[in-house]
Symmetry: C2
């Protein structure tokens, strides 16, 4: 039984039926958000039932778009470890430092979450051909879930993306095209190739369901901390679906009375080589300006013009958070430091989070008594 | 509270105290097995309590060597997905085909299980320096768990092991030496370098706790299938700890009345390029002869002389199982086939399992009404 009530535009008052596939708001071209009858969900003892469900993101099924359970396209995504880190003691200290370790997801990255839900919904609507431009891991995840669900996929990826991403797409038998430039260029090429074809675009925020998969990060953190929320969450921000999704999850949980009124401060972490959100946050703007010549080792956050810029910036401001750009050098240093001290092989995006944490601790923005959650979004091997 | 009663030699009647560190049996140089007061565990409603515990292998704590929970060296290992595969329909059929997908473990491989438990126990005994020869993934896992636990590690790895394994060891700040030849050569070099030093060897079966970590594979499969056991389990077999461990787990579960009397048939899968267990099984021998010039793409099963050969062969025979060597070509074909049809990027060892499954289905050794479990032991990216 579904608790979904409507698809709601994130900017204008338009709403749409969840019974058919949608992309952006047809009135103002903004992303759509899935709304639920939260009062009805709140009346069910969902939290008590969770313990008996398998450790995947589908355990939060009352808060996900529902299809028949046997139609779910799953590779076992979600319910990744929340690990307590200890290195903080040497760095000054916070009272609790946690790492949401996403590398154990299928295809080795957090992208599995959004694409499991998006592919499931696309398949349930009878769509057969999905496409995406990807900085790397999203392409690999789409290729895998499309293959698992028996759908075709068409993936456009920057030529200099990590080789592992291109190989995993090719192996899954998908159409994959390596494009000169960044994800924005990949997106342009995809638009050309797909013109007149029945490809359904599952890009970040271009359809409403990837964000629903990503929001489970917020539910998992809350469940894993015993329905207590952290004070600060640092998130490596490219397209920002995870940040937007977690903020949505925290608001849903507050509305259902699952958590208290004090929600976490959300922090967007970017690289100095591609920091459109940081720049917009600092100048108090509602929108980000496109970043020219984006360069960073952290391919996943090399997103010069995120479609959900205003949603990211809104979440940062509503939550009392901030945005931080770290140097490329500090990313490289962080990879070595975390591997040596914690045995964790971070991806560059995760290492950026660690570097930002150190910076915010030094400036005093993060208080010593804070409970902090960092993210490692993908396997360091990739 | 610990339910461990003794360390028992796997060959002679000797027993040893679990209160101090041990390596092989001091009388006959065979591996030691951890024994529990299973009657006392059986009197507790452990299975009913499992649902409320976090999804790591430490959920089976009554059946693991106990240390204080805060001393456990964990990166969130275990409770990996058991995925239902569908490709079987095109290949003839079995009634259920499952894949135990181990790539989501910390460090991207099933080696995390044994090393989480072995490093936890070593640390609890006050050992500070651990060493291991590794075909690849075990080295990466030891490096990570040692770093996480604040211990030193010394790792010896064949020069032609996957580069990802060597890099992950170096990043964790461990001592890593790349050696000409196979894991047997790495082992010889380690013996030279370690002579006169206080290194504790956590090689496969050289201490009793890695097998305890690996046996949780058996508990998880049973829990995930609702305490029903599969008919056949195919396992890519190098050192064979997982196969020996699962067989131990099934016997423990039978003894506690958690499952019925009919245990799974265990199948050891090897490559034609290194098949000492298959050769010994076929000629009815209790021991394997060392395989000369071992060659296979599947580095994890390139083990020319497994220490636990007689334990592997015993498990195959007691269970009514068998041993199969597959061609290198069939391994490569299987990687592509499974990626295309299921969206799963298998490691070569996992692909070997798939190839062996097809072969045993064709020869009729696996019946169409069987419930079968295959293994993917590590991330294909590595």
């Amino acid at each position: 039984m579904s608790f979904v009530t409507a698809l709601e535009c994130s900017r204008c008052p338009a709403t749409f039926s969840p019974e058919s596939p949608h992309r952006l708001c047809s009135k103002c071209q903004s992303p759509l958000l899935v709304r639920y009858a939260l009062d009805r969900v709140a009346a069910i003892p969902v939290r008590e039932r969770l313990a008996k469900r398998p450790p995947t993101l589908w355990r939060y099924r009352e808060l996900l778009p529902v299809v028949a359970p046997e139609k779910i396209v799953s590779l076992g995504e979600g319910m990744t470890p929340l690990l307590k880190l200890r290195i903080r003691r040497k760095e000054g200290a916070v009272s609790e430092l946690w790492l949401k370790e996403e590398s154990g997801n299928p295809t080795g990255s957090f992208k599995a979450r959004g694409l499991s839900v998006a592919v499931t919904m696309a398949a349930s609507f009878g769509l057969r051909r999905l496409c995406v431009p990807s900085a790397g891991n999203a392409g690999g995840a789409l290729a895998a879930y499309a293959a698992r669900g028996g759908l075709e996929s068409y993936i456009f990826i920057p030529k200099d993306a990590p080789e592992a991403n291109i190989v995993e797409c090719r192996l899954a038998g998908t159409y994959v095209e390596a494009v000169d430039g960044s994800i924005a260029d990949a997106s342009r090429v995809m638009a050309q190739r797909g013109a007149g074809r029945d490809w359904f675009d599952v890009s970040t925020l271009m359809e409403p369901y990837r964000i629903e998969g990503k929001k489970t990060l917020g539910y998992e953190i809350a469940e894993q901390l015993g329905w207590r929320l952290p004070d600060v969450i640092l998130y490596p921000t490219g397209g920002g679906t995870g940040l937007i999704g977690m903020w949505k999850a925290f608001q849903e949980m507050e509305s259902m009375g699952w958590v208290g009124k004090r929600l976490p401060k959300m922090v967007a972490v970017q690289s100095e080589g591609c920091a459109p959100i940081v720049e917009a946050f600092d100048r108090g703007s509602r929108h980000a300006s496109p970043w020219s010549d984006p360069r960073t080792l952290a391919a996943g956050i090399r997103v010069p013009r995120p479609l959900g810029d205003f949603l990211i910036l809104r979440a940062l401001r509503q939550s009392g958070g901030t945005a931080v750009a770290v140097s490329e050098e500090s990313i490289e240093d962080a990879i070595v430091e975390v591997a040596e001290k914690e045995g964790l092989l971070m991806c560059p995006e995760g290492a950026a989070c660690w570097a930002a944490f150190r910076e915010l601790l030094q400036t005093g923005w993060i208080q010593p008594d804070a409970v902090v959650v960092l993210f490692n979004t993908a396997a360091g091997h990739k």
